[in-house]
Point group: C2
Chain length 154, copies 2
């Protein structure tokens, strides 16, 4: 369990460091021509991690208005974006809440179902537990980190 949490935190940490390093202007750039802007990926990461909160039993999702902009819809230069400063704050806030909750979870807790799966489905698909969410969201973070890193030199 510890190694999975370590991997989560090291991935959060390198993403944190990258967002701290990137200026608001850099966040307005696309990671590659025709691809998502940095600010979209920042909002997307904050939204995805915020949705994790209820799924792992850490309380209500925060800033639910992000879903519409950063999950339901693709990046679009005509969409008015929240301020980068707010998104930066949300990203840290959400990860802080997750960390607090994770630190109180027992090994057994990780194997319980996440809230987006019914008890009936969980009986048939026991891998749909909180640990699997942690693993898949860590991979998701690494995937977008590999793209955001391109903004460093822009």
């Amino acid at each position: 369990m510890k190694c999975l949490l370590d991997n989560w935190y090291s991935n959060v940490s390198r993403m944190d460091n990258l967002f701290d390093l990137l200026t608001d202007d850099q966040l307005q750039q696309q990671v590659s021509p025709g691809r998502n802007r940095g600010i979209y990926l920042l909002g997307h990461m904050a939204a995805v991690h915020s949705r994790l909160l209820p799924m792992v039993g850490a309380g209500d999702q925060l800033h639910t208005y992000l879903d519409e902009i950063f999950l339901t819809n693709p990046d679009n230069v005509n969409t008015e974006m929240p301020a980068a400063a707010d998104l930066r704050k949300y990203w840290k806030e959400v990860n802080g809440k997750l960390a607090t909750h994770f630190s109180g979870m027992t090994a057994d807790d990780w194997f319980t179902k996440h809230s987006a799966v019914s008890a009936e489905d969980f009986a048939k698909e026991p891998h749909r537990n909180k640990l699997n969410l942690l693993i898949s969201r860590t991979t998701h973070m690494a995937y977008h980190f590999g793209q955001l890193i391109f903004l460093k030199s822009k």
Copy 2:
């Protein structure tokens, strides 16, 4: 353990599918202006996974000449690259050998030290086990997958 192996295999599988989809011409493109070419990342992935073989006790590293081109040195258009067909073959071959080995490993095996750490260091740093290698290489794969996906429309 199973969920970590599932995550490994699902990441290998989506990388496989992407490499199968990309033409040799697409692999010659940079994933983003001034960044690694697809063929470099294909060779890099094959080399990194080949180095895993001895580290997890699955036998000798294969195609060691890849290290110089894809690990020691950054991508350089002046470097003569191995044929894409060979790199595609190596990538599958190495993952096949790893899969065979992984299928025979017990849960306890995953917590034993990997071969690149001394017994003395392992006593002090017990997290340097095979499981951690699997986790970090899965993250590594997701990181580069997030970049290679940009080649799909090129």
